[in-house]
Symmetry: C2
DNA sequence: ACAAAAGTGTTTTTAATACACCCATGG
DNA sequence: CCATGGGTGTATTAAAAACACTTTTGT
């Protein structure tokens, strides 16, 4: 079970497919499937997703939690390992007929406990945008600061100031200018500088919100 | 599979039991067992743990991650859902013969991938001590600030200043004085005031390390 | 009185948000 | 030349770390 998220048309959306069979026929569910004996859960979810989207487009995949209530699926208990997947906003992967993107804030009738899984994915993304470099997984290879602001705003659900976003990410060394610029729109304006993320692969940049270790002293000893 | 942690004698320790049978006989492993059809994974781990410790002593239990590498256990793949459990430092639960507490920084020869699970548990605890009220799960019902400092220091692995700890937790409304005091030790000193945590049950107190929503404006609208 | 531990008041540091203003381009 | 975004510089705010100093006890 994976909640694959992407910022599309200014809103955070999730990839759902419509069930054909009972139980919960015609309701929308997260892509997933059974685990094989020769793969771990992450390999499995990547294999399942390969049927829906080009998995090379997935910029980030991580575990969320196990959902295991005995009655979560009617007729025999199924344990689901839930994942979060992220796709950069510049790609529009081909998806099969029976799948569609839905805004996470306006979900259709969902199957089983899949709405809870989407909420979990959304919460995880929100949190990690604050203390990791996970923005790289939402953004295209090159972007303007205001485009990045749009991505963060959509994912976080509140307006982010472009100037502060740039400074926070720059201070952490996550952003670097490409040297290129983007031409202004039809109504004019100064051309925007293009940036890229300095690294791919998730990195925790702000591990201790508080109770940070003392700055003086070697820091190796305890107590 | 659960890493049950407790601060014992100034160090963060984990409860391990020594395997009698092959594979990995005589190596130390985390308590756990098979999931039944009528329970979810948390109910299951609590049932498994009941065989080792009085589960009423567990102040907090949470999921860590699924460990599912096909070869993690020799002879047939076993998927493990790993948990973190916390026991307040004032209780010394009875444990069976074949189990023992070990400092997480000085583990014995461990079975399977259990060392990785302990590392994960340690990391999770460290992180959550910073941005949640999880300290309540390590502390006794009443404690002095310096006792609490000892707990945080042991769990975090670096020295925490008592005065700053008190101020951080107080500002967040997590601490309240009980009105009682603790008598000083044999060498004298001012008697220490006793405190308690205001709430039990985990609470996130510092959700946005950075990129916090704008303080002005209602905060409900996007972009 | 003095040592020891607890607790308070104050300063310093850090890192974010807020805001005013300057810049570059298209019409 | 002015409207429209982009970008920079500076002030403000917030919260934690660091440290000096006072308080309360036992011996």
């Amino acid at each position: 079970m994976a909640a694959v998220l992407q910022v599309r048309r200014e809103s955070l959306q999730v990839l759902l497919w419509q069930r054909a069979q009972e139980p919960h026929a015609r309701r929308w569910s997260l892509p997933g499937g059974r685990l094989r004996d020769d793969e771990d859960v992450e390999a499995s979810i990547r294999r399942q997703l390969a049927e829906k989207v080009d998995v090379r487009k997935l910029a980030h995949v991580e575990q969320l939690a196990v959902f295991s209530a005995p009655d979560r699926v009617p007729g025999g208990r199924i344990v689901a390992s839930a994942f979060l997947g992220l796709i950069p906003c510049d790609v529009d992967p081909e998806v099969p007929e029976d799948t569609a993107w839905y805004p996470v804030d306006n979900l259709p009738d969902t199957a089983f406990d899949h709405e809870a899984i989407v909420r979990r994915a959304q919460g995880r993304l929100r949190a990690k945008l604050s203390y990791t470099n996970l923005g790289f997984a939402l953004a295209p290879p090159e972007f303007t600061i205001s485009a990045l602001r749009g991505l963060y705003s959509a994912a976080l659900g509140y307006r982010v100031a472009a100037t502060n976003l740039q400074r926070v990410l720059s201070r952490r060394g996550l952003l670097e200018p490409t040297g290129h610029t983007s031409p202004p729109g039809p109504s004019g304006g100064r051309p925007a500088a293009l940036f890229r993320f300095t690294g791919h692969g998730m990195l925790v940049t702000d591990p201790f919100a508080v109770l940070r270790p003392p700055s003086k002293g070697s820091g190796v000893d305890v107590r």
